[in-house]
Amino acid sequence: MYGGNNQFDGNAAFSGGGFMPSQATQTAGDHSFSPAKNRDSQTLIPLTVKQISEAFQSSDDKTNFLIDGVDVNNVKLVGILCNKMERVTDVSFVVDDGTGRLDCFRWVNEAVDTKEMEAVTNGMYVRVHGHLKGFHGKKQLMAYSVRPVDDYNEIAYHFAQVIYVHSYNSSLRKQHDSSSMPAQVPSSAFNTPLKGYQASASNQFPGYSMDGIRGVDKMVLDFLQQPSCLALEKGVHRNELVQQLQLPSEKISEALDSLESEGLIYTTIDEFHYKSTGNG
């Protein structure tokens, strides 16, 4: 529900609040934009205002911010609400989370919105969910949920979560950097290890990512990736690997099993001949 709302919010805010134009822009923009607009990039990320202030705007696209290499669309803040101002169509306020102050807006279209905004007053701790966007070079939050914090443990909890998510996203980025990925615009692929891995595998062809493959596994894979072995249609026999690498047969078998389960090699004419999937 939030995903849908949010998409509307962003586009509506873009095109000056019109409903019809936003639909049109959405369809037009969908072609180039849809791969990034998956559900992963729409996740709600807990942040501090400080992080938002340092967020990197990756392109001209006003909705596109990067924090720790991850696309940031929906964010969660916990802080003190102040400067609340009610206007005809929206309520503007500032959230101060102790690290900085961020301008927020909440459209009040329906009774439920009005009611929620009436429940919060200046000086109150609130939890805000919203869509981050840039407007005239400033960052703003288009809030779609503003609720009072009633258990104050949530404040410590929120900041613990901020730290966790930051560590998680930055360690993912480190993994990518170390696998010698060429500098490119990071995408939502960083959100999940699985996607990250797939992306690196296809991008690095034929150099191939061997991140995390070590020891015997790496030796076997390296051997199978030699051009001379790649050229062999039936691949390489297990015994030949034992001979060439001068390692015990059990070790080779273990490595072959593990590489096979990783999808990096496959058996060919029988269960003893192996070939790398790296370059068919």
Partner: protein, 106 residues
Amino acid sequence: MDMSNPAVFVNAEFLKEHVGRKVRTVVQVVQSDGDKVIGKSTDEIQLVVKGNPPNALSTFVEVIGIADTIQSIEAEIWTNFGDTFDVNSYEKVCRLANGDYKHLFI
């Protein structure tokens, strides 16, 4: 966006490093008289909080204000945090926010 005046998470230990700056902390109220509250910090050291406390204070109170001395705070904002509060979690977050993850906060 105004980043000019952040309030740093502190306990009694970190308060010392921020004298003259804006801080936020939670204390367990020990004694309250008029414009001065004596409280126990999350790392169990006695702190003095000055200012205008609200009439009714709960057991745990968050104060945001200027670190006056290494053991006192001139509070601007008082928030009652209720009678049950997980001091340990707050203390741990406070340590992280002053340690490896300082850059996310100040």
